[in-house]
Subunit: 200 residues, 2 copies
């Protein structure tokens, strides 16, 4: 039985990362997709851990060949999700989680229509702003730009299959886990059990 | 926020009842619908506990008025799900579970298209037969008739939204609970939170 592909998006500060961490703790066979990038590797980074570091030529070649599930350019560098490792894990029966922005979600859905998508939202946008400001690591300008970007992301929430409200992290992670469990109980995923039951 | 309506079906011996019991333990606000019947009340029964006991005239009148979500006739008596108490609980924000056969599921789906349906299946049909025989309370003829009925029920599995495999009861109940949690995270159920967020 192949694994299932899950896409998790949400504005920065909604707590996507913490939810994914909890999901990975709960299910050690879950594969969290590692992105590929053309930006230079930093000293502390290891190829295949933070990112797969590839050349610009190779990245463009992979896009060309349909080997990227989604990609984007930021500040002159490409970032994206290579299809290879994702498909390999799915074939091995592991579920896969992608952390991508909404434009990435649309691209993944176009290439893998059976992907299940979740949008993580804070209890309110005001709470998101509070969380971002409490980090105290960013300039006012950067905060404003992030908030604007987050507002933009939220306009795409309606195109997701599920919305996870991250007020209490444990509840939010439990909801995301419930979505993953439920999706694997769908009749399309399970009917083969009855069809293959020779005693029926 | 209104509650959600869940329909659970499955051949006898699949363990529907035990799963529903676990769901009710887990969520005390969950309402397990009580059927109405025209059969005479037995001494140990209490109106509104085992069944709502109603006259034949009243039952037929309710069918006429669209006040029965589903109904069937067995051995000259009518049995069915009155819409009133179900709708009342849903309006109060409680989820509702119905234990009905597949013909009842089709009827509920026709009247309440947003109902979510689950079909409980044993690990194999052979296991179902074993469970039925182990009860040792029924004649061979009755067992054969039940098995035939069960096989019939299984032909409808593909029309359900989810299939719950009851091998381990705790896992099966957790899966059913995950379906209920996930369905309440659906974008159609949650988008209003973003729409009503005045800080967004």
């Amino acid at each position: 039985m192949a694994g299932k592909l899950f896409v998790i998006s949400g504005p920065s500060g909604a707590g996507k990362g913490s939810i994914i961490e909890k999901l990975l703790e709960k299910d050690p066979t879950l594969y969290f997709s590692i992105s590929a990038t053309t930006r230079p590797k930093r000293d502390y980074e290891k190829d295949g851990r933070e990112y797969f570091f590839v050349s610009r030529e190779e990245f463009l070649d992979r896009i060309e060949k349909g080997q990227m599930l989604e990609w984007a350019e930021f500040a002159g560098n490409y970032y994206g999700t290579p299809a290879g490792p994702v498909d390999e894990k799915l074939r091995a029966g592991c579920d896969v989680v992608l952390d991508v922005e909404s434009h990435g979600m649309y691209s993944v859905k176009a290439m893998r229509p059976d992907a299940v998508t979740m949008f993580v939202y804070p209890p309110s946008f005001a709470e998101l702003e509070k969380r971002l400001r409490n980090r105290k690591t960013e300039t006012e300008e950067r905060i404003r730009s992030r908030l604007e970007q987050s507002r933009q992301e939220c306009t795409h929430a309606e195109d997701y299959d599920y919305i996870i409200i991250n007020d209490d992290l444990d509840i939010a992670a439990a909801e995301a886990a419930a979505v993953m469990t439920a999706e694997k109980c769908r009749t399309a995923e399970r009917l083969h059990i009855l069809k293959e039951d020779k005693t029926l």
